[in-house]
């Protein structure tokens, strides 16, 4: 049986969020959209499994996560995007900050995190999922989400600008370069 129109409309509304999440994982915009397409197709194939009382975004993000993990397995965990390609690629999302060094550092640092730390960190900070939702997406206990988010944060910071606490006060973006 085909997915009903209302479900398709709900699904379409999630596409921008899915695309952002995919791009935060695979960086290359075209690969990210392929991942979104795979997630959409899987969602449509299993639409009857979706419980309408739940948040469809959390549901499709968990499908996207599975698609991502499948693809990583298929590729043998090879990440082919070089940090320098992120800077001026035509598909790179535009960002309005005056400091290109920061953008590069942040994304390449993010890429260097293990996927076990990167995904929870992105789900919580970028997608603003609760720990419980994040646990549901990744199928890990909440306590694991907690510690991975925390370790991901610390690791990201260490990659960005060395170690140790830094002076308080207004934070200039420039200081992390």
């Amino acid at each position: 049986m085909n997915a009903p129109t209302a479900f398709r409309q709900q699904l379409i509304a999630t596409i921008p969020r899915l695309r952002r999440y995919a791009r935060s994982l695979v960086f290359d915009a075209s690969d990210a959209d392929d991942m979104v397409q795979t997630a959409l197709e899987r969602a449509l194939a299993h639409w009857h499994q979706f419980d309408q009382r739940r948040d469809i975004l959390v549901w499709v993000i968990s499908i996207a996560h599975n698609a991502y993990m499948d693809e990583r397995r298929r590729l043998g965990h090879v990440n082919s995007v070089e940090p320098q390609d992120l800077q001026d690629g035509p598909d790179a999302p535009t960002v309005h900050t005056s400091d290109p060094g920061l953008r590069l550092d942040l994304l390449s640092a993010l890429q260097r995190l293990s996927v076990e730390q990167r995904e929870p960190l992105l789900l919580v900070t970028l997608e603003q999922l609760s720990y419980a939702e994040c646990a549901e997406v990744l199928r890990i206990p909440i306590g694991t989400v907690m510690s991975r988010v925390s370790r991901g944060r610390t690791a990201l910071r260490a990659l960005l600008d060395g170690h140790g606490p830094t002076p308080t006060g207004t934070r200039s973006l420039r200081r992390v370069v």
Binding site: A3, P93, V95, M146, S147, V149
Partner: protein
């Protein structure tokens, strides 16, 4: 969480506070700690700043127009449709594997287009523009392309190729890759931007290596109105042959004054590279 909260590593508690995952007492406890420990407070501020920069950096993806193909996937999906995207790459390769086994001509769904065939969409006629563009630019001696890729060194040529690919990708609003046809004996000359019905299209020109008046072939690329994969078609107009097809988010037309089998081996290579 109450009983075990204080057993959690310090950073985990601070991090959970930042994510607003604590109950009232836990929150008060962490906030008191942060007041007394400016170094930790500074660290948490940095985490918050990293979070904000992440959002700022990746946020613009939300504002982008959703590619038509993704919406079409949702609207056109039915349980029987061949899934596309990554899974179709595998399917495409399977088609080619069968092609190798049976002889490409049999396995490829090429067919001679017939003027009496019903027109299934408005997305027709573009292949004629590909032929016209071919006929206009191929005879050019001095300006066959708008951006030439030949450079004084391999590095310079590579830089030119990257520039060409980036530029066309940007203008067409879809990934434009430059196909490597050297295995078939053709070198990339360069490319140009062309007007098409609704949006720009691109023409890449290739020339057989090592001959002064060597034959040239062109690859015409455009964003199709419909992303429904279209079967390979072959057409011949006097001495010009053409293969054209739609796959993924790209419409392809390969034009050249070559025998069909030679043109097909080029088309096959372009098809494979377009899949990767």
């Amino acid at each position: 969480m109450n009983t075990t909260f204080n057993d959690l590593p310090h950073d985990t508690r601070l991090s959970a506070w930042l994510d607003d995952e604590l109950n009232k007492e836990q929150r008060a406890e962490v906030e008191a700690w942060l007041r007394d420990n400016p170094d930790d407070a500074a660290r948490v501020r940095l985490w918050a700043a990293d979070r904000d920069v992440l959002r700022a950096r990746l946020g613009p993806a939300l504002e982008e127009a959703v590619p038509t193909r993704l919406e079409q996937v949702v609207w056109s999906h039915s349980p029987s449709t061949l899934s596309s995207g990554w899974q179709r790459v595998a399917a495409g390769l399977a088609v080619l594997a069968i092609g190798a086994a049976l002889g490409a001509g049999l396995a490829w769904r090429w067919q001679r287009s017939n003027p009496a065939e019903p027109v299934v969409s408005g997305d027709t006629g573009w292949e004629q523009r590909a032929v016209t563009a071919h006929s206009v630019y191929v005879p050019e001696v001095r300006h066959p392309v708008e951006v030439a890729v030949a450079g004084k060194s391999a590095d310079e040529s590579r830089a030119q190729e990257e520039h060409l690919s980036r530029w066309l990708t940007k203008r067409l609003g879809m990934p434009v890759k430059l196909f490597d046809l050297r295995a078939q004996g053709y070198e990339l000359v360069g490319g140009r931007l062309l007007p098409d019905a609704a949006a720009p299209s691109a023409q890449l020109m290739y020339q057989r290596s090592g001959e002064a008046m060597a034959p040239r072939v062109t690859v015409y690329l455009r964003k199709p109105e419909s992303t429904t994969p279209a079967a390979f078609r072959y057409e011949r107009q006097e001495d010009l042959g053409m293969f054209y097809w739609v796959e993924g988010s790209t419409g392809y037309a390969l034009v050249g004054a070559l025998p069909r089998d030679q043109l097909m081996s080029l088309a096959e290579s372009i098809y494979k590279q377009g899949q990767n």
